[in-house]
């Protein structure tokens, strides 16, 4: 590979990581919309099609390994490939979480805990992920730091939602004689708590992407 081809392969890697980002962002978007509109067909579509993300992930991962092995990148090239390598994993995980979200839409009885506002949590997590990919595309260290700041807000929202579910459960009057109803309720509670945690994790992955981007741009491991 000539030096020009090497430079081109770095540019291609960045473009393809961004394209994987768009794919994952799109899936998260569709999963969140399906959740808020209770669109089962859309949820089913998202839940059943994670292969494209996984394929892209494995392809990009192997390209990073090839670059390490054959080009031994150093300095900003090294930070770029190493960061991209890590960011891929975060994107792949967000793809999995979008599937979880879609499966939740299919399984949950959303009328039961209507007061828990998952869409607000989802919107914030989605915004953090979008900004993380913008920061990666534009080498923006300030945006990286602002994503990390917003994670506290997301954590608070998630914690409040979980507390609300638990409090609601305590206050709810349940006919303990109806074991099937009790089981349904408990299933729904645990599904909801897990999905709140999943949305919080989307935010954590966005922070990871921001942390690796900050390292890539400024060699600053502050957020890592």
């Amino acid at each position: 590979m000539t030096r020009d081809e090497y430079q081109q392969s770095l540019a291609d890697l960045r473009a393809d990581v961004l394209s994987m980002g768009e794919l994952v962002q799109g899936r998260l978007d569709r999963a969140l919309t399906a959740l808020s509109t209770v669109d089962e067909a859309e949820a089913r579509a998202v839940a059943g099609a994670d292969d494209a993300v996984d394929r892209q992930y494995l392809d990009l991962e192997s390209r990073c390994i090839q670059l390490f092995a054959r080009q031994q990148p150093v300095a900003s090239d090294l930070r770029f490939v190493a960061s991209s390598f890590k960011i891929l994993t975060d994107l792949e995980r967000v793809g999995d979480l979008a599937v979880n979200l879609a499966q939740y839409t299919l399984a949950a009885d959303r009328k039961r805990f209507e007061e828990v506002d998952l869409s607000a949590i989802g919107a914030l997590a989605r915004e953090m992920l979008d900004d993380a990919m913008v920061a990666y595309r534009t080498d923006d260290p300030d945006l990286c730091r602002s994503i990390a700041d917003r994670d506290d807000e997301l954590d608070t929202l998630c914690q409040r939602a979980s507390e609300r579910v638990v409090r609601d459960l305590i206050e709810r009057e349940v006919d303990e004689g109806d074991s099937w109803a009790v089981e349904e309720l408990l299933d729904d509670v645990s599904r909801l708590l897990l999905i709140v945690r999943d949305l919080e994790r989307v935010g954590d992955h966005a922070v990871n992407i921001a942390a690796r981007t900050l390292y890539m741009v400024e060699s600053d491991p502050e957020l890592v």
Binding site: L10, P73, A75, R79, D139
Partner: protein, 309 residues
């Protein structure tokens, strides 16, 4: 690297230059060079074994090394890298006054070894080169036996005496010589391969073995600093790996300074790296980790990443 990264690094250079004594108007050419003096200030752990200060070297009218100041930490590996003609080998040769052997060479400035100036008049050059040994690019064993290659130096220095006269005078150091040959060859990781053929001509050894023999020869006079000028560039990957392992081990006891064109080699084996760029100037000096992960000079970044011109 993207255009925006380029622009950002350039602007960092601009920011740095504004604080210097001499205001700089652009970021190109010489002006950037002015900015880099702060990147050669290097606070390392431990003591300096050698210190060069304001070192200039001229070959006739050619100003080959310009104002290089650089401290070399003891018992570690310092790599000197840079393109051909950047002055790195010239600098290396200043450290044991090998440039004195070139008639047209003229050296200004100071080099101290353990605090003592090596460029003062009347210094014993033989003694200096015993303390600061050198290994060259092409293996250059004497056309003698393996044993003689090792014992030649110590005999010349009078550290061991053998032969008829010594025996008559009761000063036969044959046992000491045997021990010295064994110790030196073991230190150079060559003993196991040659211990049963010490009388064979050294020129019959493979290139990698010859180079380790030259390192053993250098070690036989008990040096403190070992200078190496591209010691593995003529060797295959296996012989190179042996030399690299050896350099790593030597740094526990000796101060090693190595010139290499192989950037990955510098990254693999050195503790600190000094980057010389065209024009005979030291541009950046720091921990090897830092130089290869986050060089401060854009020109060093471009050089080590292979982005030329």
């Amino acid at each position: 690297m993207s255009d925006s990264q380029q622009t950002q690094s350039q602007s960092q250079i601009e920011t740095r230059t504004t604080g210097s004594d001499q205001p700089l108007e652009t970021t190109s050419g010489e002006t950037v060079e002015e900015a880099r003096d702060e990147w050669i200030e290097y606070d390392f752990q431990g003591e300096a074994k050698m210190v060069a200060e304001d070192l200039d070297v001229y070959y006739g009218d050619d100003h080959a090394l310009k104002g290089v100041s650089m401290e070399i930490p003891e018992e570690s590996v310092t790599a000197l890298i840079g393109p051909s003609g950047c002055g790195k080998s010239t600098y290396l040769r200043c450290l044991n006054r090998m440039n004195d052997r070139i008639n047209a060479a003229h050296v200004d400035g100071s080099v101290r070894l353990d605090g003592a100036e090596i460029y003062q008049d009347g210094i014993n050059l033989v003694e200096l080169r015993k303390r600061v040994g050198m290994v060259f690019q092409s293996p250059n064993p004497f056309p003698k036996s393996i044993r003689d290659n090792i014992s030649y130096g110590p005999r010349k220095h009078g550290d061991i005496e053998t032969g008829l006269l010594a025996r008559m005078l009761g000063r036969d150091d044959s046992e000491a010589e045997r021990e010295l040959v064994e110790r030196s060859l073991k230190q150079a990781a060559l003993w196991n391969e040659v211990h049963d053929r010490l009388e064979d001509n050294a020129l019959g050894l493979s290139g990698g073995q010859q180079q380790r023999l030259c390192i053993a020869r250098c070690l036989s006079v008990d040096p403190e600093v070992i200078l190496m000028d591209e010691p593995a560039s003529a060797l295959d990957p296996i012989a190179t790996a042996k030399i690299e392992d050896l350099i790593h081990d030597l740094a526990e006891e000796y101060t090693v300074v190595i010139v290499t064109h192989n950037m990955q080699q510098a990254a693999r084996i050195s503790d600190q790296t000094a980057v010389f760029l065209t024009g005979g100037k030291l541009v950046e000096y720091g921990d090897t980790d830092q130089i290869f992960e986050n060089p401060r000079s854009q020109r060093v970044e471009d050089y080590i990443s292979g982005k030329f011109g």
